[in-house]
């Protein structure tokens, strides 16, 4: 790799009428005092620009490939391993997407990590100042981040769960038992893990610190799954423990996947939607109020 040489002479072949705006050789034509007007047509920027920009950002860093790669490996890998060790009659009253559940329990951490990194890596590197200078409409940048991340996370988890469901049904569907429909688990399962990622993004925007935000999110997912065991000891704490047991993230997923005659997990999904919406509102308020 060579050190770049400065352009002592102006760059040759400027495309149609492009300005030689950085001609350091002293041969510029401008008159001192005459105001300069950019030849690039002035366009009012809009959300579409921000979405294109955020898409470029998310696809051009290695952390996206790593977190999504591991997510796919976990969901599809463990899903197929479990599918291979089950029999057709295991799928009585459960959907064929069930094997994906076990991978999702671990895989959700990948989406949480990616969600946090989408925003906190900008604060960590200082990129945020460049971003906010290019797009002073801060809310637009954050909205684009939320949308692009949600779409990526939803599509990836939908495809992963769907693939596991299709392969499992191909392996075990012989008409001996009636499996539950898998459409609901596919839609709600991918929505649940994607929303966890969106919540992580909001927490990342609030805390502006990768490690802090990831830790906070892990706490939010794991503590309600562990704490009830201790809360159940005390009689007065028992109701809180029961609620936690009911609404913690792993259990919500198991309800969505109809494990133990699950209820479909709709109320758990609504809780997550509520919490995420609140975090998003907080993130927007803080973004506008604080200095970058």
């Amino acid at each position: 790799m060579s050190t770049p040489h400065p352009q002592q002479a102006p760059a040759p072949v400027p495309p149609q009428g492009a300005p030689q705006q950085a001609d350091p050789s002293g041969k510029w034509q401008g008159l001192p005092g005459a105001a300069y007007t950019s030849p690039i047509p002035i366009k009012r920027t809009h959300l579409g620009n921000a979405l294109a920009s955020e898409w470029t950002k998310i696809r051009s860093v290695r952390s996206t490939m790593w977190t999504l790669g591991i997510f796919l490996l976990l969901v599809i890998g463990t899903g197929l391993a479990i599918a291979a060790n089950t029999e057709p009659r295991d799928y009585a009253d459960v959907p064929y997407t069930l094997p994906a559940f076990f991978g999702l329990i671990l895989g959700q951490i990948c989406l949480i990590t990616l969600g946090v990194l989408v925003v906190s890596s900008e604060y960590g590197t200082g990129m945020i100042r460049t971003t906010m200078t290019a797009s002073p409409q801060r809310h637009r940048v954050l909205a684009a981040k939320f949308l692009i991340f949600f779409l990526v996370a939803y599509v990836v988890s939908f495809c992963a769960i769907g693939l596991v469901g299709l392969i499992t049904s191909g392996m075990h569907e012989d008409g001996s038992v009636e499996a539950a429909p898998m459409g609901g688990t596919l839609l709600k399962g991918s929505l649940y893990v994607s929303l966890l990622g969106v919540l992580a993004l909001a927490v990342g925007a609030l805390l502006r610190h990768s490690a802090g935000a990831i830790t906070a999110m892990l706490g939010l997912v794991l503590v309600p799954a562990i704490l009830p065991a201790f809360l159940m000891i005390s009689e007065s704490m028992r109701p809180i423990g029961e609620k936690m047991l009911d609404y913690n993230a792993p259990n919500s997923l198991s309800k969505i996947f109809e494990i133990d005659g699950g209820t479909g997990g709709t109320s758990q999904l609504w809780l997550l939607i509520g919490v995420t919406a609140a975090a998003i509102v907080g993130a927007f308020i803080r973004l506008e109020a604080r200095d970058v």
Partner: protein
């Protein structure tokens, strides 16, 4: 045209920028000068809408930064060289910026070519040297081919070739009629590039003047004399009506009289001279003198190594005329601090 009106930024008790009012005009390079911690970067961040001012206002052609509908084709800024994601390639870094403002992709190749980074366009930014990072930052600023350019300490960490390049780049941009606003803590650098000068210290405006005026007002010339017969020399000069200032280490300084006349006077009295040298105080010294009161972070040096003109032998406040020895106010401030301690 950038207009600041009473711009103030306070962090708790600390005032970072204190009622700054000045104008940056198009078609010239305006140097924004101040010691480290003077509030230059904070001012630039407020200009770009990154920080909210505590009070006052900053407008670009009458608009606040966040009211610009196409910020990058209007104003390009280099804040600091490493304000980018190190894991992203130079091309993708510029591409995502271009997309956010609807600038065509072809323009990314153009600016990469302009700053000389085409060969490393696909490389990750974290492998870049400081100079390459600086060039990439400048490429980002040029992306929209804007009419206002703002560079925060662009020559920091650059090799002489890079400094030369940036100097010419800024002059070229201004000659095209663009507004160029560049900050630095190096007076010598500004003397070579800037047409207009805004000096701040501890957030306050110290000077807002054209470069030519600043040079005229601050380039003090004097003659340095050394003689083994110092006492007699002083008497001779005093008789001739010339004010002599003792500058320590046995040297005398004379303002406003030519070296030839001083030499003739000494020869007439039959005095031996060890040194007779015309001196020109540099702009750097003038700048230090201007900002000495407001330098925030002092290194504590022992008095013996104090700069000439402010040594322990110098009579306090003894240097006459509009230009006391540089660092003198510095020493006085130090003395005050020591008394207070």
């Amino acid at each position: 045209m950038i207009e600041l009106a009473g711009l103030t930024k306070r962090y708790g008790e600390k005032v970072a920028v204190d009622r700054l009012t000045f104008t940056v005009r198009p078609g010239i390079v305006t140097g924004f000068l101040g010691p480290n911690g003077a509030g230059k970067s904070t001012t630039m961040r407020m200009l770009l809408g990154l920080d909210h001012p505590t009070a006052g206002d900053v407008r670009i052609d009458g608009l606040h930064y966040d009211q610009l509908k196409d910020p990058m084709t209007y104003i390009g800024a280099l804040l600091d060289a490493k304000a980018m994601h190190g894991g992203r390639s130079a091309f993708n870094h510029l591409l995502c910026l271009a997309q956010s403002n609807g600038i065509p992709r072809a323009r990314v190749h153009e600016v990469l070519d302009t700053v000389g980074l085409t060969a490393v366009a696909g490389k990750k930014a974290k492998g870049f040297s400081l100079g390459m990072g600086q060039r990439l930052g400048i490429a980002g600023a040029l992306l929209g081919d804007p009419q206002i350019l703002m560079f925060d300490e662009p020559v920091n960490g650059l090799d002489p070739e890079g400094i030369h390049w940036i100097r010419n780049l800024m002059k070229g941009l201004a000659a095209q009629g663009r507004t160029v606003f560049v900050s630095s803590h190096l007076m010598s650098e500004m003397a070579l590039t800037a047409d207009h000068l805004v000096v701040i210290g501890q957030g306050r405006l110290l000077a807002d003047t054209s470069m030519a005026d600043f040079i005229r007002a601050n380039s003090r010339s004097y003659v340095r004399l050394r003689s083994p017969q110092q006492e007699r020399l002083r008497d001779v000069l005093h008789e001739a009506g010339i004010t002599v200032v003792e500058a320590g280490n046995g040297t005398l300084e004379v303002d406003g009289v030519g070296a030839d006349r001083l030499g003739e006077l000494a020869a007439g009295a039959g005095l031996v001279l060890h040194e007779l040298s015309p001196q020109q105080a540099s702009l750097e010294e003038a700048f230090m003198q201007l900002t000495a009161e407001s330098v925030e972070y002092h290194a504590h040096s022992d008095p013996a190594s104090s700069p000439p003109g402010a040594g322990p032998g110098a009579p306090s406040g003894g240097v006459s005329g509009p230009a006391p020895g540089w660092g003198e106010q510095w020493n006085q401030q130090q003395a005050r601090k020591n008394e207070g301690a």
